[in-house]
Amino acid sequence: MSALLTVTDVHISYGKVEAVRGVSLDVGENEIVTIIGANGAGKTTLLNAIMGVLPLKGRTTFAGTDMAPSDIEDRVATGLSLVPEHRELFGTMNVEDNLELGAFRIAKAVAATSLERVYTLFPRLKERRKQLAGTLSGGEQQMLAMGRALMGAPKLLMLDEPSLGLAPIIVADIFRIVGELRAAGVSVLLVEQNAQAALQIADRAYVMELGEFVLSGTAKEIAANKGVAASYLGFQHEGESAI
């Protein structure tokens, strides 16, 4: 399987504090990969750095090209997309405007078909398309954030805690849709505290602790691992807020 994203020996620091130390990972085409771990393990930091929001030391390539010289906007144009933890929607604009801006780098004709696809995936958004994004419920905002990212026709979608603070029924809905993305040819890098749900849909998984990967393997192996079961599956705290 050819790797879409490769991250090799990456270090990320906030001033003198090293938040991520020597992490390597790869995501193949049509693959769902998850990073699980507790609060403050460095998962969000890692995703932000891969997107270019934070600077990193180490080597990263996307679709075979070195990502070092490109900034966030260039990375979006090459098909990398991040749905950030805080969603970063355009709150005072309506749902449809938010989605259209998601296709900012895409030709208008392509964007029109993407919009239909997003509305098929998230019928709720179509019902609310003239409503301001800031007035949506948490679950709808998460759907909008994912929809907006999908409008840019990404090859790899990075999701940061999509289940955070959402009701279980909506979490199930969102995970079902993440599973469907693979059929549409989108790879997913999923960061989650809800390890159980993440391991059910993922192909492979990495376990992160204190800025390092302590374990990696297929989702089944990780789910069967006794240490993981004790730390992440047995004592699952739903809806716990991240730092």
Binding site: E73, S81, E88, F90, M93, R105, A149, G152
Partner: protein, 346 residues
């Protein structure tokens, strides 16, 4: 006081208010997109007005040389910031924008300048000059510090205002200038006489407000500018270049400023430092509009213009005092309505 005088004052107030409205809208636009409180807006007014007035007398205004100089600095900055990853495409784009454009403008000014150049050509040249200065001003002074706090941006803005005003004295001298009217036509309605100039002021103001409304409500670029204003990180994550948004905002603001100047300079004599006071009145309107609302800003600007007209009739010594005092009750009300001062998170 009789009705005729009142009508005259109203007419005067609305004409000035329309100009303030244009400037206020530009201030709101720039603040929304870049968080810069654009103090040098007044200099765009003077530069536009006086460049136009000098071109009309057949002289080459110094502002065009300033545009070339700023272009060179902007080019140097582009090269410096991209030194780690210099692509041919990037350099070519920078050369075209920062070198070719101002030098072409310089050539154009020298080729076309003369005492008999048509008014329309002079206006176009003056607008292009100020547009270039506005664009480069963002690149040089604000783009490198775009991520800093509103206060830092404000201080940079004051610095730009002082520098541009000083340069204005060099370019235009201490003497005031007047420019030729856009049209000599006049319409009489009852006791009021509407000159072609004041009609142009109304027409352009309304036109700009409608154009801005259409631009922000219905075009992709306009929506992208709004998105940048609402959420910078969100905008970057969908691939909107926030630096480009800033450049577009400054370009629009400088052109609006220059147009305002060209509209006023046939009515009143402008000096190199007049723009600041005019800009401040637009600023009051923008503050009343909370630096966010375009319609409220436009209405407030008309009120400022009318108050100014009446106070200059009744108490001309206190004209500015009365106008600027308008801001106090507004600030008090706003601080009561929003007790907590929120500094943006990034």
């Amino acid at each position: 006081m009789n009705t005729t005088i009142m009508l005259f004052l109203l007419q005067d107030g609305i004409t000035n208010g329309a100009i303030y409205a244009l400037l206020g809208l530009a201030l709101v636009l720039v603040f929304a997109v870049t968080r810069v409180i654009l103090i040098p807006q007044g200099e765009f007014v003077t530069y536009g007005a006086l460049s136009y007035a000098m071109l009309a007398t057949g002289q080459v205004p110094g502002t065009v040389r300033l545009a070339v100089a700023m272009g060179l600095v902007a080019f140097a900055l582009d090269l410096f910031f991209a030194r780690k990853a210099l692509h041919a495409k990037l350099v070519m784009r920078s050369v075209a924008l920062n070198i070719v454009f101002p030098f072409a403008l310089l050539g154009l000014v020298y080729a076309l300048v003369g005492p008999h150049t048509p008014i329309a050509v002079n206006i176009a040249l003056a607008l292009l000059i100020v547009a270039a200065i506005g664009l480069f001003l963002y690149r040089i002074a604000f783009q490198p510090i775009a991520h800093t706090s509103v206060l830092v941006l404000l201080i940079a803005s004051v610095g730009c205002h002082l520098a541009l005003q000083g340069l204005g004295l060099v370019f235009f001298g201490a003497e005031g200038l007047r420019g030729p009217a856009l049209s000599g036509a006049a319409v009489t309605a009852g006791p009021l006489r509407f000159t072609g100039q004041s009609l142009a002021v109304y027409g352009l103001t309304v036109g700009f407000i409608v154009a801005l409304w259409l631009f922000f409500g219905y075009t992709k670029t306009g929506k992208a500018l709004r998105a940048t204003a609402v959420n910078r990180l969100g905008a970057r994550l969908v691939g909107i270049r926030t630096t480009l948004s800033g450049q577009i905002a400054f370009l629009l603001a400088s052109v609006i400023g220059a147009i305002s100047g060209i509209l006023i300079v046939p009515i009143t004599t402008l000096y190199y430092d007049t723009g600041f006071l005019i800009g401040l009145k637009g600023f009051i309107a923008a503050i009343i509009g909370g630096l966010v609302s375009y319609p409220l800003t436009a209405v407030a600007a008309i009120v400022v213009g009318i108050v100014e007209a009446f106070s200059s009739f009744y108490a001309s010594n206190f004209k500015e005092v009365i106008v600027f005092t308008l801001i106090l009750p507004v600030l008090v009300l706003r601080s009561l309505a929003a007790p907590q001062v929120e500094e943006e998170k990034d």
